[in-house]
Each structure stands twice: as C-alpha cells, then as structure tokens.
C-alpha cells in the first residue's frame, strides 16, 4: 500500500474532540491515529532519555483494537508521563476472526501537555474503505 496518502484532521465536536484519520492500511491508520492524538493533546516531549515500550493485545474487531491501542497511549501520557513518537505496528487478522496488535513504541518523558485526552470512545467508530484507503472518525473524551 506504499504511496497511499495518510494523515489526520480535527473535526468539529461541541463537547469533546473528534479526529478523522486515513491511511493505506490498518497499521498506518493506527499510527496516524496515535500521531493525531498526540497533536490534539499538544504533547511536547522533553530531551530526556528515550523510552521504549511494547504493547500487545487482541480484540474482536479492528475498531476495538484501535480503542485499546489509543487507550494504552492515554494511560502512558497520564500515568507515566511518556509520549511516543516512533511506532512499529503490526496488526494480524487472527483465524478466529479476531485482530491482534503487536506494537513497539519509542518516545520520551513529556515536557508539557496542552490539553490531555481522558478517554477514547466508540461513538460512530467505523473503519471504512474509501478512495484514500482506510478511514475512521474517532471521538475523544476531554
């Protein structure tokens, strides 16, 4: 899927924050969602020691997997004050129709955060095939 456009944009939402993300495949879509989350929250890394973490989980569908992955990033931001900027994400379609993520993440302690995100919602969350590859709209609780 090399060459497919990828990115994210903030959407209007009255009470919370909403993000549209697009990319050529699921792994790239998850990475764009992570970058979009960092941007929305205004995560500023410090020049401190680099930190590496690994994350693995399974979910019954791709949307649940995305919520679990982004929730993990929120946990690291809030509780361990770590922001990740480099992602190596592998997503597997399992034989039992479930999805599995294995993600290596590298980042740094957070210097400051503008407006942190508190939770990821399932509201109207659907990963859809479009001309741009895959797209999803994610609503965050702030």
């Amino acid at each position: 899927m090399a060459g497919k456009p990828r990115g994210s944009e903030e959407l209007q939402h009255t009470a919370d924050w909403s993000l549209r993300v697009w990319a050529g495949d699921l792994s790239a879509l998850f990475e764009e969602a992570a970058r979009g989350l960092n941007e929305l929250a205004g995560v500023k890394p410090s020049g401190g020691k680099r930190v590496k973490r690994h994350f693995e989980t399974e979910a019954p569908d791709a949307e649940s997997l995305l919520v679990a992955f982004l929730s993990e990033l929120i946990y690291y931001q809030e509780q361990q004050h770590i922001g990740f900027s480099i992602f190596d994400i592998r997503i597997f379609d399992m034989p039992n129709n479930e999805y599995r993520i294995s993600a290596d993440m590298e980042g740094a302690p957070i210097r400051s955060i503008g407006k942190p995100i508190k939770a990821v919602t399932y509201h109207n969350l659907k990963i859809e095939k479009t001309a741009r590859g895959l797209e999803a709209e994610i609503v965050f609780d702030v």
């Binding site: 929730s71 809030e78 509780q79 004050h81 969350l125």
Partner: protein, 480 residues
C-alpha cells in the same frame, strides 16, 4: 433531525414521537424554548437522543434538558430510565466521568470585606487543590486504603477527619452508594485513582468563589444558609482517571455482552447489559465504586477549600458549611411513577442533575419541605444558580433537572476564536481572579462557548421542573 420532527407541547416542552424512527422504543421529551431548540439542532444531540430511545427496557420517555448538547452515544443533558432489574444499564449513558458533580459551600464572609483578600484566597485555593489532567493529589493512599474509599465514599473521608456528619447529611446519597464492588474495578483504574485522589483535574472542572448576587426564595435560601452579598464556593469535579478507566473497561467488555444478549443498537458507545446479568451487576458495582471515589474526592477538595478560607480570613465566619453536593453522571436505582404505576428503575443521568421534590425520601430533614437543592454552574464570568426540585420534576423528568449552561460552540472553534490570555485579562477586568493551569484550556471554556445559563434556568423554572432560589456571581476561578 429537524424541527419538523418535533411536536410542541408548550412553550417549554417538546416531544419526538416514536414514529420518527422505527427503532425507537419510547418518545423523547425535551424541555426547551424554540430558541434553545434552534441551537440544539445545530449539532447531533437530537439524533443521539433518538439513539438513546432504542435502549432495551426503557420506560416513560427519554428526557433531555435545555442545556443539552452533543456528546458521544448518549447526549449530554439526557435522562433515561430502564426497568429494574430486567432493563439494561449502559455505561455510555452515564459517561466516562462517573459522578461528575458539584458541591456548594457557603461562608459568612461578606464580599465587601473580602475584596482585598481575593488574590490570596485564589492563590491558596490553587495551591491546596491540585489541578490539571493526571495531576497527582496531595494525598497518598495505598491500594488497600483505596478499596475503603471505593466502598465507603464520604464515610471514609469522615473517618479520616476530612468530613463532618453535616457534610454527609447534605450530600446526595449521604456520599456513599451501597453495593459498591471495588473488586470489579480494574487494577489500572485503581492505579489512576490512587495517584489522583484529592485533585481537581482539568477540562471543565473548576473551583469557583462566588458571591450570592440575588435571592429569589428567602425561605429556601435561609434554610440552605445562603445570604445576599456573602461568599460561597463551588467545586466541580468527578471520579478522575479512575472513573474514565472504569467506563473504558466496561464499554469495551459490553461490546461482547450486547452480542451475547442479542441487543442491537445504532451506536456502539451505547452498549449495555441487562442489570440482572453478571455483566450488568459487575458494571453497577464498579460504577458505584467510582461514584464513591468522586464523593470522597469532592470532600477532600472541600476540606482543602476550608483550609484556604480559614488561612485567608482567619475568622470563624470563614467556615464553609455545606449547602449540598449533587451528581451529574450517574445510574441510580430509584422508585418513580410511570404511567400510573410505581416502579423501580435505573435512572441514567448524563449531564443532568437529580432534582427531587419536597417530601421525597432520602433528603435531609431541612430540605424535605423545600425540595433538593440543585446547583447549576454557569460558564466563567457568568452567573451560576441554586434551584430546588419540585413535585413536577418527580412526575415529569424522573426527578431531574439541567446541570449547567451547556456548550454551544465546539472546542476547536473556541480555541480558534478565543485567546486564553485575552480572556484571562477580560475576566480580571471584571474583578474575577483567575488561576488557570492552561490558557488554551481556559479559551475552550470561554463563556461564548456556552449557552446563556439564565435562559436555561428560566426554561426549567417555567417548565416547572425546578424553582429558583438564588443567583451567584463569580469573583475567583481556579481551573486545571
């Protein structure tokens, strides 16, 4: 959704009938003026209310308040009652910040004598009440101690000298929901809670010092201990990261519960489980634990606010007595009359306040005659209100009322149109002391991002589901 889908019942009440969409199980009843309806229609909140009307086991109508606005899954400002125990409980219809609520405290300090001390008061409140997302609280508790907080709520605070019996008597549910199950709360949720207990958080949470600007009901105000010209404090906060993690955990778990119980919903954020199932029972136990955490947290913040007042004014008049503590995001088992039959229901309130009328069991003796105090915080720089619940609220809105002004502008737009530093200056020029952790966060919460709280209050008052007691005006705001 457009205004043609709505049936006007009166100047302050509208209905979306069940024939608007085939999957609706009950109608939607709105308390709003035409002007407010026109604002509400500008976002997706009415579609969300119709989605909420598809939940299994609903009784009566889904109720929405004039401060309604778009949320996720369930609209903010919504109330839905499901039959107990066979109906469902939906974590998304209660919200992530379980038992987000407001506490009102009142002093005998007059504004005129306090003006020269307000800077110091704001600084001390900011110092003693840690704010900001993920900000750690001043108190450290062990995991075992946290389980006591989750089980006992404000009772834990009283045992540890952070609360008085009078505080508990003037707290919804006396500050403790029975049947909380700390064992149904994940380790991650407890980790988030353990670090954050005693802190204010960010977003729209705040501590505000107000002056009682005008009294509308002398008798009710004097029973509450509110006097024109005197200082009060509002504390708006919830269950912090602990509640968010519980909601995240159960919304995720209930994705499979709806398949197991054959429940088809228009939005995955509305996932639910029947209350008489292991899944439903587990969520109710965890949700009550989060509610108890929030009660204890507001109590700790009240304790810190008392310290700030006493250090600032060094006078017995500085003691902050509790007027009431109310919850905004909660699922409660209550008894209501529906279609002429008294029945137990789970009342989901998301961005709505319990507003029990006079004589309702559970209110402290002094409020039995006047009804439950309902605290309506405004947006920064605007008025807040103290109301009381009415007999009509019991009959028409499952004993509920509005919870605030209600947003009307997106956060993205507010950030674009309002500069935090300019807003801070503007508020300071109005005589309002501001302590804010984030200027962009301040901009998102600017008054122009909200509806006119006076019109919202006018609507619930004219509709008869609440009655005005007093109006408050801000003199100092502390925000995360």
């Amino acid at each position: 959704m457009n205004i043609e889908n709505l049936i006007q019942i009166s100047d302050y009440e509208w209905e979306i009938p069940t024939d608007v969409r085939r999957d609706m199980r009950v109608p939607v009843r709105l308390f709003a003026t035409r002007e407010l309806i026109e604002q509400i229609i500008s976002d997706k909140s009415l579609d969300q209310a119709v989605n909420a009307a598809t939940l299994p086991g609903l009784v009566g109508s889904v109720i929405v308040m004039p401060d309604m606005h778009q949320g996720y899954g369930f609209p903010i400002g919504g109330v839905a009652a499901t039959e107990f125990p066979g109906g469902v409980v939906s974590p998304g219809a209660i919200g992530y910040d379980i038992n987000c609520g407001v506490r009102l405290l009142a002093s005998k300090i007059e504004l005129e004598s306090a003006r020269s001390h307000l800077d110091r008061l704001a600084t001390l409140l900011n110092k003693y009440c840690p704010s900001g997302v993920g900000k750690e609280g001043a108190l450290r508790v062990t995991t075992k101690e946290l389980d006591h907080v989750l089980h006992d709520g404000s009772r834990w605070a009283m045992k540890n000298n952070f609360a008085t019996e009078a505080d508990l008597a003037r707290t919804e549910e006396s500050g403790c929901l029975e049947d909380a199950k700390p064992e149904k709360v994940s380790d991650r949720a407890k980790e988030r809670g353990r670090q954050q207990i005693g802190s204010l958080g960010a977003g729209n949470h705040f501590i505000e010092v107000d002056v009682v600007d005008e009294i509308f009901d002398e008798n009710a105000a004097s029973i509450m201990g509110l006097w024109a010209g005197y200082l009060t404090v509002q504390i708006h906060c919830g269950s912090r990261g602990l509640g968010h993690q519980i909601c995240t955990d159960y919304v995720q778990q209930f994705q499979s519960a709806v398949k197991k119980y054959g429940i088809d919903l228009p939005d995955r954020e509305l996932v639910c489980a029947p209350m008489d199932t292991p899944e439903g029972q587990a969520y109710l136990g965890a949700m009550r634990a989060a509610a108890n955490f929030a009660f204890a947290n507001r109590q700790l913040l009240a304790h810190s606010a008392r310290r700030a007042f006493e250090e600032t004014f060094k006078s017995r008049d500085a003691y902050l007595h509790q007027v009431y503590d109310i919850c905004h995001n909660m699922g409660k088992i209550e008894t209501h009359e529906v279609n002429g039959r008294r029945m137990k229901v789970c009342v989901h309130r998301k961005g709505a306040t319990r507003a029990f009328g006079p004589g309702t069991p559970g209110l402290p003796p002094e409020y039995q005659k006047i009804g439950q105090p309902v605290i309506i915080p405004g947006s920064m720089g605007t008025a807040s209100w103290v109301l009381v619940g009415t007999k009509d609220s019991m009959a028409r809105s499952f004993g509920s009322s509005c919870h605030g002004a209600g947003r009307v502008m997106s956060r993205a737009k507010a950030k674009h149109e309002v500069r935090g530093d300019a807003l801070k200056k503007e508020l300071e020029e109005q005589g309002i002391k501001v302590r804010a952790g984030s200027l962009s966060g301040l901009a998102e919460e600017s008054p122009q991002a909200y509806k006119d709280v006076d019109r919202v209050v006018e609507t619930v008052s004219e509709a008869g589901i609440a009655r005005k007691v007093a109006r408050l005006k801000p003199v100092a705001v502390i925000k995360g």
